[in-house]
């Protein structure tokens, strides 16, 4: 009897311990899991694979999101603010709405590693520091030295020489200087870039401090002394660079293609762009500054390549907070910053990092030595208004004075704060969370798109969406944020063998060691077919089976296939270095409209997204 009582007691104790064990494991997993949103897929080039390698004890979920504070505000509303946030477009005004949900990093050892004069730019009015700037990107004019040599034009050292060079090239049928005026940031940078001495004058900097400390609904007008000169100079710049109305549609890739073809001498770009042109295209490129009247008035335009913040919710979990601080310290180390900038950085905000100048910065060196580095004014409204006003100037809608008046009007018009109208409704929510059978939310989008296009099979290169699918109402903008904006939708008729070739391209490690899968949550998504792959345990995978309805795919049958993804994230040597098989590239056709528009079309017509399927099995 006594033995029986003891046995029952022991069993009860063990049963009592089980939930506690489970909870401990769960808490450990939670502390070791970090969700990090990326402002752009370029962060997956070197930084995110390096972090995974450096912290094997941490389960990272890297999600390519959107480069705007509004996107994070939306995630916060849905209760899915990630642990680590990154954003390139930043101003304290824009970030004000999120500050209550972000961790104050001001008292950390990490903040102490920043140069005081730089980190103070990010200090809130309540003394907190929520965002940390990663190393700086430098923006200027990329020049093709070979073209200058071919036409015997000296590399300009001031604005007059720059204008003369543009004239000579234009007279010889070569583009002098192009800018991608289709983009808001290019309009903003060109406009500010051509009048930096004015913007950095006492009046200019005083006005800027006043503007940047205003509230979200502030109506600080442009300074009457500084800004008319900025527009006058920009008007002259447009004339001197022979800008025509059709240039408002010019993209960066248009300019780059002409530049590579030696039909353009200069275009606006960054030090990173300059390095890529050197390394990938073999061009003899150098970075030139934004020119002023004399060499002493030349300036480079800079901005942090991105800013980093931490969700304040992590403070409730000591283990997680420690892990996040470890990750942040690694990111802001010298190695981390080199990875973040893919080796092309010239200015750091940290005392702990030392830099050596690169060859292509020879002509920008005087600016660096003189500390002539202008940090762009980059509030959301400045981006939007700059594009509108600059394009109107190019279209001849108004002159410099008209541009100043219109910019001022748009800037000072009180922002109407009203809830955007709901445009879509989704009845069932699906989690983004990745399991051994893929992500439900990703599968829902893939299945819905395939049904909409009528294709037999859809293959997405990686996680093509940015968040969970939430049950409820969506505005137009919120629905646009659901999908990765760089994912292009294309189509082709492919045999089963070709489909297997595509899957081989997207999963298997190449002969030269290139691995197309950078993170587990970014493995391919499929609809209309399933696949299985083996986890090799070293971050690589091996494709095993490709099936349709459980049967091996018929290699000879022909299927209508949609391909959805961003080639630039996988093809180039600087990223995964896994170029698409030529045979597949040749048969692909573009489809009409963006993928998200097709998804929205289903909802507009009263439909609902398709149910998810288990599209992958990882062994």
């Amino acid at each position: 009897m006594r033995k029986r009582i003891i046995a029952i007691f022991v069993v009860m104790m063990l049963l009592g311990c089980l939930p506690a064990c489970g909870r401990g494991e769960h808490e450990d997993n939670e502390s070791n899991s970090i969700t990090m949103y990326l402002w752009d897929f370029s962060m997956t080039k070197e930084l995110t694979p390096w972090l995974e390698e450096k912290f094997p004890d941490i389960n990272f979920e890297f999600v390519v999101g959107y480069n705007t504070m509004d996107f994070y505000s939306y995630l916060e509303e849905r209760g899915e603010l990630p642990d680590i946030l990154t954003c390139r477009r930043f101003s304290l005004n824009d970030a004000a709405g999120l500050k209550e949900r972000l961790m104050d990093l001001s008292g950390t050892e990490l903040v102490g590693t920043f140069y005081t004069s730089y980190i103070e730019n990010n200090r809130d009015t309540d003394n907190a520091i929520k965002w940390l700037p990663m190393c700086a990107e430098l923006d200027g004019i990329i020049a093709n030295q070979d073209v200058f040599d071919a036409y015997n034009v000296p590399i300009p050292t001031n604005y007059r020489e720059f204008a003369d060079a543009c004239r000579i090239f234009e007279e010889n049928g070569i583009g002098g200087f192009y800018n991608d005026y289709a983009e808001d940031y290019s309009c903003l940078e060109a406009m500010q870039g051509c009048a930096i001495p004015e913007l950095m004058s006492l009046e200019g900097t005083s006005w800027r401090m006043q503007y940047e400390s205003e509230t979200v609904d502030g109506t600080t007008a442009l300074d009457e002394q500084v800004w008319p000169v900025v527009f006058d100079k920009f008007e002259q710049f447009l004339k001197d660079t022979y800008v025509m109305p059709e240039d408002i549609n010019r993209s960066f890739h248009d300019s780059k293609a002409l530049f590579i073809d030696n039909r353009l001498a200069m275009f606006r770009g960054t030090v990173s762009d300059c390095a890529v042109l050197r390394m990938e295209n073999g061009k003899n490129t150098v970075i030139l500054p934004y020119f002023g009247e004399t060499e002493d008035d030349n300036w480079l335009l800079t901005y942090p390549i991105f800013q980093v913040a931490v969700n304040s919710a992590v403070e409730q979990d000591d283990g997680k907070k420690k892990n996040i601080m470890r990750v942040l310290e690694a990111m802001f180390s010298e190695e981390g910053q080199r990875r973040a900038a893919s080796g092309n950085f010239v200015l750091t905000y940290n005392k702990t990092v030392e830099i050596e100048l690169e060859e292509n910065l020879t002509f920008a060196e005087p600016c660096l030595e003189q500390n002539h580095m202008y940090q762009r004014l980059a509030s959301t409204e400045f981006f939007a208004i700059s594009r509108n006003v600059v394009q109107n100037m190019i279209n001849g809608v108004y002159d410099a004075d008209g541009a100043y008046q219109d910019f001022n009007r748009q800037l000072t018009t009180p922002k109407e704060v009203h809830a955007e109208e709901s445009a879509y409704h989704i009845e069932t929510g699906y989690a983004y969370t990745f399991t051994e059978h893929g992500s439900q939310a990703v599968s829902v989008v893939a299945n819905t798109l395939r049904k909409q296009t009528g294709a037999d099979v859809l293959i997405g290169y990686s996680s093509i969406i940015t968040s969970s699918i939430y049950a409820g109402e969506y505005t137009e903008q919120q629905m646009n944020w659901l999908m990765n904006n760089r994912a292009a939708l294309r189509q082709a008729d492919m045999t089963g063998a070709q489909i297997k070739q595509v899957m081989d391209w997207l999963v298997n490690v190449k002969e030269n060691g290139a691995n197309p899968i950078c993170h587990l949550n970014q493995i391919p998504v499929t609809s209309g077919m399933e696949y299985s792959m083996k986890d090799n345990g070293d971050g690589s995978y091996t494709l095993e089976e490709v099936t349709i309805d459980g049967n091996a795919i018929d290699e000879n049958a022909v299927y209508r296939v949609n391909l959805l993804g961003n080639d630039n994230a996988i093809d180039p040597e600087l990223f995964r270095g896994c170029p698409m098989p030529q045979e597949i590239r040749e048969i692909l056709e573009d489809t009409e409209g963006r993928a998200i528009d097709r998804f929205k079309a289903v909802l507009s017509e009263g439909g609902q997204p398709e149910a998810p399927t288990e599209y992958v099995t990882i062994r």
């Binding site: 008292g107 103070e120 006492l202 005392k351 003189q370």
Partner: protein
């Protein structure tokens, strides 16, 4: 049996008394050493702090004196020679003429931009002296002291203010602590704990926020760290000791009475207490010896007294009896 118990209790009591006295003495001496050491350190760092404060005051004065000189002397070579002389004496890194928009010109004709942010307006519009941290390309972080000057021109460069800069190493030279054979480390920090100057030779072990380090790497309780944080913010003088994985340290902090700067000193306790620890150990051994001798003597007296009393009782007991056989047995009962 009762006697044996009594003697055992006696032995335990004596040992406990010796131990208790030892511990109390150790605590008393440790506290005295801590107080003595920190007071000694505070004295040393107060002196260093005064040097820093005087250096700051002297440099303000030097710049003020420089202004009429710049106004009256037109010969640029003479100006340069005068400033070089002051630089030689004070050890600042560079002298600048500052224009209205924050552009600087050095004595050697190098131009550049000094990003002073809102302090620029304070300097050139409000005409007030300022101190700012600044960064120039590929140079250590600078601490710039600037004063407004009468508008003038140097090498055709129009200026409205003049400034001098120090890099952290120059600034720390004023805090040179000669004691402790270089084992001490000195820092200048802001009120929030961020360190902006130190005398560390190895950058790898640099500290960037003292309070964050106390929180994460020391055995200090949260309450103690909070107290230090408050002291920093309120500019209060103080001392503390803490242990890290590597060593145990004394921390001394003192406001500079300039901006919200604090001077900090960090010295391993073993270095500060080296001689006092020896004294403490010798004293402890001596006290222990005295206690043991005293205890033994006390026990001997008690035992002797008991023995005599027992002998008397045995003698009483043996009167009229043949005790030759029983007496040894009786003695054996006692021992």
């Amino acid at each position: 049996m009762r006697k044996r118990l009594f003697h055992m209790i006696l032995v335990v009591c004596v040992l406990a008394a010796v131990l208790g006295t030892g511990i109390s003495y150790y605590r008393f001496v440790s506290k005295a050493i801590y107080e003595e050491s920190t007071s000694h350190l505070l004295e040393i760092y107060s002196q260093a702090n005064r040097s820093l404060h005087n250096m700051v005051e002297r440099n303000w004065k030097n710049m003020e004196e420089c202004i009429p000189y710049l106004r009256d002397i037109e010969d640029e070579a003479a100006i340069e020679s005068y400033i070089r002389e002051v630089q030689e004496k004070e050890g600042f890194t560079e002298f600048y003429f500052i224009s209205q928009d924050g552009t600087y010109l050095t004595l050697t004709g190098e131009k550049g931009y000094l990003d002073m942010k809102k302090q620029l307006a304070k300097l050139v519009v409000e005409r007030k002296p300022i101190v700012v941290n600044a960064v120039l390309f590929q140079s250590p972080e600078l601490i710039v002291f600037a004063v407004p000057a009468e508008p003038g021109s140097y090498r055709d460069f129009p200026y409205e203010a003049i400034a001098i800069s120090f890099d952290s190493r120059n600034l720390m030279s004023t805090l040179e602590i000669s004691a402790f054979n270089g084992s001490s480390r000195s820092y200048i920090a802001y009120g929030d704990g961020r360190v902006f100057a130190d005398n560390a030779q190895d950058r790898e072990n640099s500290i960037y926020n003292f309070i964050a380090i106390l929180e994460s790497k020391s055995d200090m309780s949260d309450e103690k760290v909070d107290k230090i944080r408050q002291d920093f913010q309120n500019g209060v003088i103080g001392a503390a000791s803490f242990r890290t994985e590597k060593d145990e340290y004394y921390l001394i902090y003192e406001p500079v009475e300039f901006e919200d700067w604090m001077v900090l000193g960090l010295v391993p306790t073993r270095v500060v207490n080296a001689s006092m620890n020896r004294l403490q150990t010798v004293t402890l051994i001596m006290v222990a010896c005295i206690a043991v001798i005293f205890g033994t003597a006390l026990m001997a007296i008690v035992i002797g007294k008991n023995r005599r009393s027992l002998e008397k009782r045995i003698q009483k007991f043996c009167i009229g009896k043949n005790c030759s056989a029983c007496c040894p047995t009786m003695w054996m009962i006692f021992f």
